[in-house]
Subunit: 394 residues, 2 copies
């Protein structure tokens, strides 16, 4: 019996446990402090009424002989895939076929599992800083990884360069952690690169609902040529507060063929073999959120978080702290003042403002000297955190 | 870009599509026939009230600021893992630690995904006939597979034999498709073999709730030594009708160590990296079913299916058709009369009795000459199907 030894090469990231530990130690010293968490990566607004009503109705159905649903289609119910297709049509004029859409329990699962259909012998390109899942999943399977630096010099948006060799390219836009988002011109360059080199772009669109700038595409399929080189992952998590309800979807276009094989068919085979579909009530709730009626409620929550982001962006601008994101994204990627390192600024913010952020160095070497703020706290807490920061650092 | 070429070695099983096609053709000829499906692999009884109430309550919670749940623990909520531990304690006196229990969206996902933690270079043993997922998932990753014949000679319960080389051993008991179940003495031999050879048993206990015979273990951990060689997969699908609600769990004991590494830690790493937990309302519903109060309702459904199985077993016994299962299992594995081949008997049953079964040859070479009946139809349909079969074949 041999275990998968690649697991021994995964770097343990102690980022969030170290954050928790430092907060714990601080609270021991100063028990009266009122901490405000601006590092939260999870949503906080409750599910919208349309989602709750759909969950309740479908749950009641499941208790009746006529309304009971057993195994559903592995790819997801047609009623939900149709809503997803309409959603794309509405927000971006993108036409998807039902067979191209795969409903799942979340983008994280799909982003990890998609690697099943690719050979180990492929070069993987990720950005630095990066959402650690892209790296760890490839280390687990033993792929070679190269890193593309995301720095202020390239607006935190790495671009293809002459001589770049990459078979699998991860792009997350709007980005976690930087909040930077590719505009159409820049994204087109990646699509052209992938088509020219036979690469596949794994496009993480988890934060697309925060985009309001018309020049920032909400789907990679807004870009000509993307249907022959890109797989898109998206989720209801940030769009509709589904982090605990669990529903995502992955698009594998018909036209995406490598070595003569349709990747859509491979993914269908993977999902029919290793997955059994998403909970029926959850699929009903997801469909309710994507319907035009549900969209109204959803957009109110997005607007709430976006207002927080705007308040934060204004504060950092006033303080003349350079930052990315906060416009089409729930994240703000802030340069630490006075050339401080990430953890030093984290400690300083914690001790003087009692505000918790996330040290950028935890997301990669290029994250050193930055911290990540998120807009998922309440309006009042966001206002208060910014008031404290201004008072101390102005 | 290289795709995973192992996918090209997966045999397409046309079993269920061929069944559907033959039924369609038959219905074209004989539009008035009242078909009874005895091949159904899905449950048909609605969710119990305790499950529905828990789903509804948790869904309403999700719509409130105080009750909202975002990302949950990847391994599952403590409240559900505690109920699973109590369930094992009650039904088998087996003590599990909370850290050993991993909640998931279903056993199929876990059975497929567990292979992530093993090297490709392992020999895999499966039974023949077999649940196709065990085979396909290993073909996808390029492992060598050997088949252990399950025939009437060994009561459809293959046993280890001298010279057997197997690193990963799949055992499904009560078995899909044969309905045969290992007693403690036989299962102990597998546990001893695995411990002696350093193999890992992947034990699929999906049908454990149908066991009533005290000599048939409901968990492999009833067997001494299993905690150092076995991973157990189970699910609420058949236990509580969760095929469309989606919740399962996997047990990886602390004491299961290979090449110096705790497999529990590897699986935790796999799940934290490629999975984001199960829907909160679904976990609440699963917990409600496993509580002693919910168990009453659940057992009524199991008893309903088991009565169907008994009616079928009596019929086949009267007809002197040899069969396995039907006692501690929802499945009956029936030898085709007069030495008929699986598909020939399938056609005969369809045409003369208008009853649909599943041809055994679809589950492997050793399934030739057998068909599978399931007890998941209604009581009335089961009685009627057996009446027709007796009338025609007596």
């Amino acid at each position: 019996m041999k275990i998968n030894k690649n697991y021994q090469n995964i770097e343990e990231t102690y980022l969030f446990s170290e954050v928790a530990e430092r907060v714990r130690r601080f609270m021991e010293k100063d028990k009266s402090a009122t901490l405000i968490k601006m590092g939260i990566g999870d949503v906080t607004r409750p599910l919208c009424r349309a989602a709750v009503d759909a969950l309740v109705k479908a749950s009641e159905e499941m208790g009746t002989a006529e309304g009971f649903h057993g195994y559903g289609p592995e790819q997801g119910y047609e009623f939900l895939r149709d809503e997803i297709a309409s959603y794309y049509q509405r927000h971006s004029g993108v036409k998807l076929y039902s067979e191209e859409i795969f409903v799942s329990d979340g983008a994280k699962s799909d982003i990890g599992n998609i690697l099943d259909i690719f050979d180990v012998d492929n070069i993987v390109a990720v950005t630095d800083p990066v959402y650690p899942v892209y790296v760890d999943t490839n280390v687990m399977s033993g792929r070679k990884i190269i890193k593309l630096s995301a720095t202020a010099d390239n607006d935190f948006l790495p671009m293809p360069y002459p001589g770049l060799e990459a078979d699998i390219i991860y792009l997350c836009s709007p980005n976690n952690p930087t909040g930077a988002a590719y505009d159409k011109t820049r994204l087109k360059k990646w699509v052209d690169f992938a088509n020219a080199h036979g690469s596949v772009i794994l496009f993480d669109a988890a934060y697309e609902a925060f985009i309001t700038d018309p020049d920032i595409p909400r789907s990679i399929y807004c870009i000509e040529g993307a249907r022959s080189c890109a797989i898109e992952f998206c989720s209801l998590s940030k769009t509709a507060g589904f982090t605990g309800t669990r529903c995502g979807y992955t698009v594998v276009p018909e036209g995406l063929v490598r070595e003569g094989v349709q990747l859509r068919k491979m993914w269908l085979r993977r999902q029919s073999t290793k997955f059994n579909g998403v909970s029926y009530p959850v699929q009903r709730a997801a469909a309710a959120c994507l319907k035009e009626s549900g969209q109204e409620e959803i957009l109110q929550n997005i607007a709430y978080y976006k207002e927080n982001a705007t308040i934060m962006a204004q504060t950092f601008a006033e303080l003349k702290w350079p930052f990315a994101g906060g416009k089409n994204s729930p994240y703000l990627w802030v340069k630490c003042p006075h050339g401080m390192r990430s953890w030093a600024f984290f400690d300083d913010l914690l001790e003087r403002a009692n505000v918790i952020c996330t040290p950028g160095s935890g997301f990669g070497d290029c994250g050193e000297g930055y911290v990540r703020f998120t807009s998922f706290n309440t309006h009042d807490n966001t206002v208060e955190a910014m008031r404290r920061i201004k008072e101390i650092f102005a």
